[in-house]
Subunit: 153 residues, 2 copies
């Protein structure tokens, strides 16, 4: 079975599209984001990348992150004052911020929802992107229609 993600190829390609090179630092920064998809801060990325490239500097991590954002390989996430966080999920999705744990989860958006939301804008407004952020709590799995998973494989 071959990997369905065109990640490695499109990684170099997307950089090349902007006339930039796929350096070891950029690769490892990107790999770290792909591997731990928990919306880390630049400092957290720095800590993780150092395991692989012990001599990398924080400035380089900032540079790489900025570069990857420019090339549309990753996105920034900003809610609450505080450090910017980074997200390699490029599909349209919302973020759910769990106020208890501080964790942020990606929420996939049903097709058409974004169009529906843009429809509320007055005609002069032309939205290039829409960001949706939920804040709240993630409870224990609520007993919904399925009574109990006991008999499930």
């Amino acid at each position: 079975m071959k990997n369905s993600l065109p990640a490695r190829d499109s990684f170099s390609e997307k950089l090349a599209d902007s006339g930039l090179r796929a350096t070891p630092q950029r690769e490892v920064v990107y790999d770290v984001l792909i591997k731990w998809r928990d919306h880390p801060t630049a400092e957290e990325v720095f800590a993780r990348v150092k395991a692989e490239l012990p001599t990398i500097s924080l400035a380089t991590v900032y540079n790489c992150l900025e570069t990857l954002v420019q090339c549309h390989l990753i996105r920034t996430v900003n809610f609450e004052r505080g450090p910017t966080r980074y997200c390699p999920n490029l599909h349209p999705h919302a973020h759910f911020h769990d106020e208890k744990s501080g964790d942020t989860h990606d929420i996939d958006l049903p097709a058409g929802l974004l169009d529906q939301i843009s429809a509320i804008l007055p005609p002069q407004y032309d939205a290039k992107s829409i960001e949706i952020i939920f804040r709240g709590a993630v409870g224990p799995a609520r007993a919904a229609s399925v009574p109990s998973p006991t008999a499930n494989p």
Copy 2:
């Protein structure tokens, strides 16, 4: 004609609800937010408030803003890295960030939209609030069905 906004009353009341006082500094900070509804930063609020209270300190502006947020008199707005901005509009609304001018406009939400959006969440997720941010351009009023404005009054 009496003012339809219960602002001044509810201002003192909402503070009192939290056992806090309506000080001149808090009042002027709040007034400034009500008067210029352009989502200013703390520094901008500081500059505006100084016209009225020349001896106020930046620390006090931060304190007042924080206090007003606690009492649900204003809200914070955070998009882009950069300073937190403040908004006295408590009705459910989205923000449209004009990338040309840098201005942020409030967009009223039609009734039911927030419920509809929350409906996309898996059952364990309980959202206390939803934030919607548009980014894009506010163009000149688009000529839609009307072919040309030439003959228009």
